[in-house]
């Protein structure tokens, strides 16, 4: 390859910066995904093991239908809103850290 990795001496290009960058981003994404998947993948299990509970009537709806057909959408909005807020804050922290390191040199 004619394009070697850039020298690892400045803050932005260092191995440790990339590692912490990816780890923090992945941690955030995974936390949000896990919350979402717990509910999404938990629903079939509830239907399977607690059919009577999920067939409870809530104003005409069955509980299961109400959750999946209506309430699930706002739940996903909350997760994505939190993710976007945290993710933008994370990026700003990273940029600030790099700028600070540059000034210090």
């Amino acid at each position: 390859m004619s394009h070697p990795n850039p020298p690892a001496d400045d803050a932005v290009h260092s191995e440790s910066f990339l590692r912490s960058l990816m780890r923090r981003q992945l941690a955030l994404s995974t936390t949000c995904a896990a919350t979402f998947l717990a509910v999404l993948l938990g629903m079939p299990l509830l239907n399977y093991f607690a059919p009577a509970l999920m067939a409870t009537r809530v104003g005409g709806f069955t509980l299961s239908w109400l959750i999946l057909g209506v309430l699930f959408f706002p739940f996903v909005w909350v997760i994505s809103w939190l993710f976007i807020q945290r993710s933008i804050a994370l990026e700003n922290e990273e940029v600030a850290a790099v700028r600070k390191a540059k000034e210090a040199r």
């Binding site: 932005v12 999404l40 067939a55 069955t62």
Partner: protein
């Protein structure tokens, strides 16, 4: 004299057409085409044609993505399928919407920072491999064609409803030709505007008739309450006037509860082949576990498939920066989430108010409940409401088919022609090939679409998603988050998972439209039927395992500048690493 004799069959063909319905549908088509022509004047350069010059605001882009995403499957298919199969179908709207969350969490940001016109661009840039680009392009076309079939079915059903004398294939050919013409004239810049406009048509067209219907016949919860759930001796709501169910309709308790007709069909068919005295034991043992398996596989296909659909991903590049890409996704989730509450209401109301649709097949079946049901209001108001939903249906299949056609034609003109066949082609020649490509691909889509009248719209979309979930999703996810991936590993995994899913899909579709007789085989092997009908639960892990194993085996061929690539994918755009990367790659890098 001569012209009169030509007019006679045309007039007979128009007999039985409701003027209101015709007018609304006609206006939608004319406005769409008019906007295409108008914006064709605005888009001049090749860059404009491919990704709208990358300067689309968040609001426009979010409406446009939603407009493109809400296809015939969402507008007509969900309602029809909820009516036919009940609760289990709710996974479709939920997962269609939630797939976006996955896109947002894992893929949208990094991909946007990496910056490329198309997914094949990403594949090539991440692995420095023109060969991999070719493989990725082929998949854009494969998934695209599978996904055009349900859109064409939607077109055929709607036109057969508006013009009772028109055959199914006639509607497919007419709509296909109109959209193809529109795309070859306007390109994607035109499409962005048209798509955004069409989102709002669809939202209006699905919500207003629902409110009118509910005002006349009773609310969502009331209609649902008119169906007895398991364990109830009678339905809790009695004031809803239900029409008597026909014999082909599933009974209340099966329809309203999880693990109903959709997910238990395979086991049911197998039980029917057994001697009568063994049936009950067989059902008790297998029905629920197999249903659970079916449900999980369906969820995986739909959630991950969204993140892998090529015509949706390409739109992230039309955002000015990564922050805007994230905000766009948030708005898309809200716009489509609100929309997806409505189609199941049509299905629920349709079960109580128009049960005769259960007896129809093909273009006359439950897939047309969204179009037919508003007429139950009666009189001119009913016709107007039905005209509005027809206009929405037009917006649905026209916008999704246009988007697909743009992304497939883009892959053809930009990649296959512009890079493989004629690398030295001038921009004007590429633009010309874009137009030719649109016509060829449109024609193939029409031929494929005319073959699938008996398949449910939603089911076909599900198949396209299963393929995307086993090919593009693992590719994107692993490429973004694992630096040990090699080109060989990525290609093997994508092809292995994708082709396995494609083989399953092909077998199921050929069997179900009657080209191959597999009914007996499936009846004796219900588990195989489920794993072929919903392959994602094994093809997606297969793809990821192949990627990891093959990448480990070919570890020395990890791109040498992988750290730089990963930085570009993950570091905030304000740090300007992308620019640095482009400068380093400038000589002969082909970016």
């Amino acid at each position: 004299m001569n012209s009169l004799s030509l007019l006679a069959p045309a007039l007979a063909f128009l007999g039985g057409v409701d003027p209101w319905i015709f007018t609304f549908a006609f206006i939608t088509v004319v406005v769409t085409i008019g906007m295409g022509f108008w914006s064709a004047k605005q888009s001049k350069t090749a860059s404009d044609f491919f990704v709208a010059g990358r300067s689309v605001s968040v609001g426009w882009n979010a409406s446009a993505i939603s407009g493109e995403y809400l296809s015939a499957a969402s507008f007509m298919g969900i309602a029809g399928m909820v009516m036919a199969s009940g609760y289990d179908v709710l996974w479709y709207p939920v997962c269609y919407a939630c797939g976006y969350l996955f896109l947002l969490l894992f893929i949208a940001g990094p991909l946007r920072r990496f910056g490329a016109y198309t997914i094949p661009d990403f594949a090539e840039g991440r692995y420095d491999s023109p060969l991999f680009r070719k493989i990725a392009v082929c998949f854009v076309l494969f998934i695209g064609f599978v996904y055009t079939m349900p859109q064409m079915k939607g077109a055929g059903v709607t036109l057969a409803y508006i013009f009772p004398g028109m055959p199914y294939w006639g509607g497919v050919a007419l709509v296909g030709a109109v959209i193809t013409l529109n795309v070859s004239l306007g390109g994607m810049k035109g499409i962005t505007l048209v798509q955004a406009f069409q989102y709002w048509i669809k939202m209006f067209a699905i919500s207003v008739p629902v409110f009118v219907l509910m005002a006349v016949f009773g609310f969502y919860n009331g209609h649902l309450g008119a169906n007895a759930a398991p364990g109830e001796t009678a339905a809790p709501t009695t004031e809803i006037a239900r029409k008597p169910l026909v014999e082909k309709a599933p009974p209340d308790t099966k329809w309203i509860a999880p693990f109903g007709p959709l997910t238990t069909k395979a086991v049911g068919a197998a039980a029917a082949k057994l001697p009568a005295e063994q049936r009950a034991a067989f059902l008790a043992e297998h029905q629920k576990p197999y249903s659970l398996l079916y449900t999980y596989s369906l969820i995986i296909a739909l959630v991950c498939g969204t993140a892998g659909l090529p015509h949706i991903l390409v739109r992230f590049y039309t955002n000015p920066d990564g922050g805007a890409a994230k905000r766009t996704t948030m708005w898309v989730m809200i716009l489509i989430g609100v929309f997806y509450v409505f189609p199941p209401i049509f299905g629920v109301l349709g079960r109580n108010l128009a049960p005769d649709l259960y007896t129809g097949v093909g273009a006359k079946g439950t897939d047309k409940v969204v179009l037919e049901l508003p007429r139950a209001v009666g009189g001119v108001l009913g016709s107007i409401m039905s005209g509005i939903t027809c206009a929405g249906a037009f917006a649905a299949f026209m916008s999704t088919f246009s988007g697909l056609l743009v992304s497939m034609t883009g892959a053809f003109a930009h990649d296959i022609y512009g890079r493989m066949l004629r690398p030295n082609a001038r921009p004007a020649e590429k633009l010309f090939m874009f137009k030719i490509g649109a016509i060829v691909i449109g024609a193939i889509a029409i031929v494929l679409g005319s073959q699938v009248e008996t398949l449910q719209i939603n089911f076909m979309v599900n198949q396209a998603f299963a393929i995307a979930a086993s090919s593009y999703f693992p590719l994107l996810f692993m490429s973004v988050w694992w630096r040990g991936m090699t080109m060989t590993g990525a290609a093997t995994g994508m092809l292995g998972g994708g082709l396995a899913a494609l083989a399953c899909t092909g077998t199921i579709i050929l069997g179900d439209i009657g080209k191959v007789n597999l009914a007996d085989f499936w009846a004796y092997h219900p588990l195989l039927r489920i794993l072929a009908e919903q392959p994602a639960i094994w093809t997606m892990p297969l793809s990821i395992i192949l990627m990891v194993v093959v990448s480990k085996a070919t570890a020395p061929s990890v791109p040498a500048d992988i750290r730089m690539k990963m930085l570009v994918l993950h570091a905030p755009e304000q740090l300007g690493l992308k620019q640095e990367y482009i400068e380093e790659h400038a000589p002969g890098a082909g970016h």
